[in-house]
Amino acid sequence: MSENDIETRVRKIVVEHLGVEEDKVTENASFIDDLGADSLDTVELVMAFEEEFGIEIPDDAAETIQTFGDAVKYIKDAV
């Protein structure tokens, strides 16, 4: 799976779940501070990443995923 492919799929999940414009989902965009998520939204996002990529993200790792870039990096290393 290419990094580009991972980015595209993660961006699609973020756009769908948070209802934000695609161009707002930049590498350093924080789910909570920039994209309007609350703590429950971030739990749901992590669940959606797990489902999409068939991986398990432990709770302590999930807490480190704060931005779009964090998510892409974590998933790239996990798959």
Partner: protein, 418 residues
């Protein structure tokens, strides 16, 4: 004691989204019943219901009230409740409220069952994919008091935040209890009512198992809800929400609000008899109605119109007997109808939409019809408005609601002098 009036109304019903659109269809004698479209009901004893219309004139569009991403997080009963509350709050034209005023505005919106479909779907998800897949929004999207919570958050209403759960009496109890909070000084304004969305496989199957639903009218669902008629065979499930804005009379007058009606009486009682059936004489219902009359300080003969609980079950004639005992010699002068003949039974929202229909009956001086009432009971003395609305003088209306567990509520509403 403070007096309480209704200054705003909103509803989502199987006939339409909106109070006026629903009321027009009620007076026209239209039915909201049809085959179940939401899921494959072919394996169930009942294949029809009164679903909220999602297309056509005056249909309900959830996007009008809630962002799609927010809709995903909550059960349909919460969406219906938010929509009806937004309508009612806009109708009341409360204006921009300051912080101190918002602390005096409360919310009391209940539901009979709450997020039933969400619970069923989540149970299946756990079975198929394991507990880690459960959404963080499952619990706050299914809890009954989350309609009250959502409305409070959206508008910054920081007064009493409460929720009633009394099965099919929920809507009436919510309006009655919320009125009391205003009378006792806990709030100046209350947004009150009920919301329900139980037309799902587990909901229909569950009420089928209790032998509560109509089953014989698969070929003509619009004929199935027929309160008091000799061919009735159970209720038809409805869904939606009804919400009113209740307000302290002095506050409403001071701001020049349009006042629809006054809540003059409220009575409650328990049957202490059976989990689903009323006693043969429904003395519990009679006591609730008498309690409402006592709190209003009026006589039985003052009641012009009764919006009956009348679900199209065997209990209809038991309620009629209790009402006729209550009214005595005056029974022949009153009109009683069941709007469930048009809307089906909205369970926890029923008492709220029916209180609104009672208000509209007062406003327009017309009793809505009881549809499909072709063969009334022989011992009917009261006019049951069979198949046609009745234009008549209505100063005082009584709205009855009874629920499983033997819980009864009666609301009395009166026209405000101009």
């Amino acid at each position: 004691m403070r007096r309480v009036v209704i200054t705003g109304m909103g509803m989502v019903t199987p006939l339409a989204s909106g109070v006026e659109a629903t009321w027009r269809r009620i007076l026209d004698g239209q039915s909201g019943a049809g085959p179940i479209t939401r899921f494959d009901a072919s394996g169930l004893a009942t294949t029809y219901a009164c679903e909220v219309p999602r297309s056509g004139a005056d249909a309900f569009d959830a996007d009008d009230w809630l962002e799609p991403k927010e809709q995903r997080k909550v059960d349909d009963f919460i969406i219906f409740g938010i929509a009806a509350a937004e309508q009612a709050i806009a109708d009341a034209a409360l204006g921009d409220l300051g912080e101190a005023e918002r602390e005096r505005v409360g919310v009391m919106i209940g539901s009979g069952i709450g997020g039933l479909e969400s619970i069923a779907e989540t149970a299946l998800l756990i079975r198929d994919k394991g507990p880690r897949r459960v959404s963080p929004f499952f619990i706050p999207g299914a809890l009954i008091n989350l309609v009250s919570g959502q409305v409070s958050i959206r508008h910054g209403f920081k007064g009493p935040n409460h929720s009633v759960v009394t099965a099919c009496s929920t809507g009436a109890h919510a309006i009655g209890d919320a009125s009391r909070l205003i009378r006792l000084g806990d709030a100046d304004v209350m947004v009150a009512g009920g919301a329900e969305a139980a037309i799902c496989e587990i909901g229909i199957a569950g009420f089928n198992a209790c032998k509560a639903l109509s089953t014989k009218f698969g070929d003509a669902p619009e004929k199935a809800s027929r309160p008091w008629d000799s061919e009735r065979d159970g209720f038809v499930m409805g869904e939606g929400a009804g919400i009113v804005v209740l307000e302290d009379l002095d506050r409403a007058r001071a701001r020049g609000a349009r006042i629809y009606a006054e809540v003059i009486g409220y009575g409650l009682s328990g049957d202490a008899y059976h989990i689903t059936a009323p006693p043969p004489d429904h003395e519990g219902a009679e006591r609730a109605m008498r309690a409402a009359l006592r709190s209003a300080g009026i006589a039985p003969a003052d009641i012009d119109y009764v919006n009956a609980h009348g679900t199209s079950t065997m209990a209809d004639t038991i309620e009629m007997g209790a009402v006729q005992r209550l009214l005595g010699d005056a029974a022949g002068a009153a009109t009683m109808s069941s709007t469930k003949s048009a809307t089906g039974h909205l369970l926890g929202a029923a008492g709220a939409i029916e209180a609104i229909f009672s208000v509209l009956a007062i406003r327009d001086q017309v009793a809505p019809p009881t549809l499909n009432l072709d063969t009334p009971p022989e011992d009917a003395i009261i006019d049951l408005a069979p198949n046609a609305k009745v234009e008549r003088e209505i100063d005082v209306a009584l709205s009855n609601s009874f629920g499983f567990g033997g819980t009864n509520a009666a609301l009395l509403l009166r026209r405000m002098p101009d």
